[in-house]
Symmetry: C4
Subunit: 252 residues, 4 copies
Amino acid sequence: MDEIEVREFKKVKLKKPVMIEGLPGVGNVGKLVAEHIIHELNAEKILELYSWHFPPQVLVDNDGTVRLSKNELYACKSKKQDLLILTGDQQSVTNEGHYLIAETLLDIAQQHDVSRIYTLGGYGIGQLVEKQTVLGAANDAELVAEMKKYGVEFREEEPGGSIVGASGLLLGLGQLRGIPAVCLLGLTSGYLVDPKSAQAVLAVLCQVLNIELDMQALKDRAEEMEKVVERLREMEQAQVPRVREEELGYIR
Amino acid sequence: MDEIEVREFKKVKLKKPVMIEGLPGVGNVGKLVAEHIIHELNAEKILELYSWHFPPQVLVDNDGTVRLSKNELYACKSKKQDLLILTGDQQSVTNEGHYLIAETLLDIAQQHDVSRIYTLGGYGIGQLVEKQTVLGAANDAELVAEMKKYGVEFREEEPGGSIVGASGLLLGLGQLRGIPAVCLLGLTSGYLVDPKSAQAVLAVLCQVLNIELDMQALKDRAEEMEKVVERLREMEQAQVPRVREEELGYIR
Amino acid sequence: MDEIEVREFKKVKLKKPVMIEGLPGVGNVGKLVAEHIIHELNAEKILELYSWHFPPQVLVDNDGTVRLSKNELYACKSKKQDLLILTGDQQSVTNEGHYLIAETLLDIAQQHDVSRIYTLGGYGIGQLVEKQTVLGAANDAELVAEMKKYGVEFREEEPGGSIVGASGLLLGLGQLRGIPAVCLLGLTSGYLVDPKSAQAVLAVLCQVLNIELDMQALKDRAEEMEKVVERLREMEQAQVPRVREEELGYIR
Amino acid sequence: MDEIEVREFKKVKLKKPVMIEGLPGVGNVGKLVAEHIIHELNAEKILELYSWHFPPQVLVDNDGTVRLSKNELYACKSKKQDLLILTGDQQSVTNEGHYLIAETLLDIAQQHDVSRIYTLGGYGIGQLVEKQTVLGAANDAELVAEMKKYGVEFREEEPGGSIVGASGLLLGLGQLRGIPAVCLLGLTSGYLVDPKSAQAVLAVLCQVLNIELDMQALKDRAEEMEKVVERLREMEQAQVPRVREEELGYIR
């Protein structure tokens, strides 16, 4: 295995596809959206990316089998808009790895002649979200103007000065390569996996891409999550433990 | 010394050996089992592995001599089943090192035409174990089915989603190479070196490999440990200090 | 993108320029001075430096566009003294990166035949500064003597034994190459961005370089900051939270 | 500058020299001894070693000049025994760097045909030392026996299972190369620079090497330190702050 190893399953020819990135992160918002799109559009896995820069561990599935941490790229052809959708188990745990993996992903994007990249994530505000909101950032001023038309908010003081990880680097490194890229961040508490915030991000993305998707699965998960939140709220009245994001893997 | 340096002592020709990994980890379960097998079968050391990715220190033996941190591979021929047994002082302390060392170990496994790998470890549950149990994970669904026949348990929520270090990576990276591999984890408190949990893991392994081993040495250590636990329990009634795993090197 | 990638915008021919380094650091003193000089002298950006060793994130500007973390070098010609001014968003976050980036900057300095380097920073004393003071260090005893003439203080016990990051390494690595270099550190509390300390450092630097600069912009920022400090002082009477430097990005 | 850069000042021809290592560490014991020997024997600096693996900072001397962190090797010829003495400002701050630098030092040792290595350090026991004691470890059983004759103690449970850094690795990596090496550790509280412990280590070393050295300078420093300890003890009666080793650089 190389430092970054790309295993291609299938060659596909896409027409100026849009790439959508949804890796694990705050509220797992980006990953929820990416997985939802992959499932609804029945997208096909075309490659897997492994790296020394992912944590040195395997994940155990419910059937008792393991798999190495990886990122995955799915492809979906359609008359309206071909898509490449990136998701995965992990992001890099090293500084260098973040850059190297983002560069590899951009190489792949360019091989497919990607016309634009959307990176998805959550923006944690440290309290329950009252009004679902999607914040934006882009690597080009025209894209900012375009996104505003879809209700994406660009706030002076938010997203807090910086966007960390793949969602940020694909924009920054994409800029150096001249690939237009937008980051869409759903407001979220930051404490829990947030399918409701994912719904808000997906709604904007569908409008922008001019596609329609059944949202029922995300709605169902949002309702399930509401119950978890309700239970936590009740527990909170006794004591006030701040649940860390990592501890939430089990409540997905 | 190279980044990873393998020093071979002896060439051996084995017949489709099974590799058993027992490096230091939770409750030292894997290492206890590996050392017990090496001792009982009088296995022969065939190579040592050194690396920059081990801690920058030497270990001092009781006779005042030092040795560099290393992993060691032992071989044992028998009519029933040839074995390669891996143990050592340390695992990698860097992210990259974990991957590189596991890859090197798999290279060695393939040179010996290993037919299957068993990785051994402990699964810490944070409290005293009432019923000795061996949890499993495998890099192939058929292996899961096979292991169930030997009483290995596969639980939906355990081993907690991930297996860290060599015990996990040998399965995950082995999967990419098509080497069948199983991880056997003995339930343990996680606070103390646990020869009792090691006995449970060894019992399963002996059954699976269809070999017989005298367990007396492990039983004796388990009894010694019982006394330590008893003493700790008494101390706990005054105050409740949580003993960290690293601090237990002296009670082995 | 290479480990360190230098993107040159413009070739300039300078006459034995002096290089001034003002990267982010304690009180942001160095960066404030560098940015002020760039602005007042209308210096021209000649290159950008990107690196894996900067944090894996993009910065979001107020217009919603992002930019990758980078260092920037500006040039300014004048009859008295040509200048190269280095500033940027970040310093390395890895140990190795600090050395590699400093070496790259010295390569660039030598290409331009730099006659001397001034590195600028703040020296945090953990309490409000009563008398603005500029401490110095140099990579040559003659430079120490020269700087004393401009009121730079060299104290036995300060700056505390070591100077960390680019401001230190450009001196240390410059010494190995025979490039004369001075570090000027403005005394600062260490809690807040400190334009007042920046003014003190700039005053010394102007004298040394025998140039004149309008200081109004720094004075205005210092007055603004005074109001922030005043507000914090009032808040402190209720409780005493120690504001961490990183959290102050928003009050610039 | 390379990852590890050796700058040789002077070629010397030594006769089967003994190498003595005294880099910074617990109680600064090793460094105190090495510096004392260099001073008393008027040893001559023959090379400096720089590395990316040292902290990214310069040290400021009392005259206001800076110097890059480095290790230094001194040589001393004599009829009885030629010596190479290693000291320096820092040890590696990365895991890999520890190994690479120790390997480089062993290369240099072999170029000079070193007959034996003595590594020196302190062994912190967390309380004031009642009886000055020198603990030992060696990379060869015969050396252990030899050292016992000089009063060096080899205890089953101490030095606590491992020796970290250059003092350990020169033994461990030296073993792989067949270079005999001994580690001498002076018992010390671990809280303060400890010239008294350094005296004890030096006394053993002088006996072993059959050389005589004036110890007055170390005695004077030990007396100074006694006063500091006395003052700390008085302060302790009011409150009990545990002074960290790093903070003691100023009290040398």
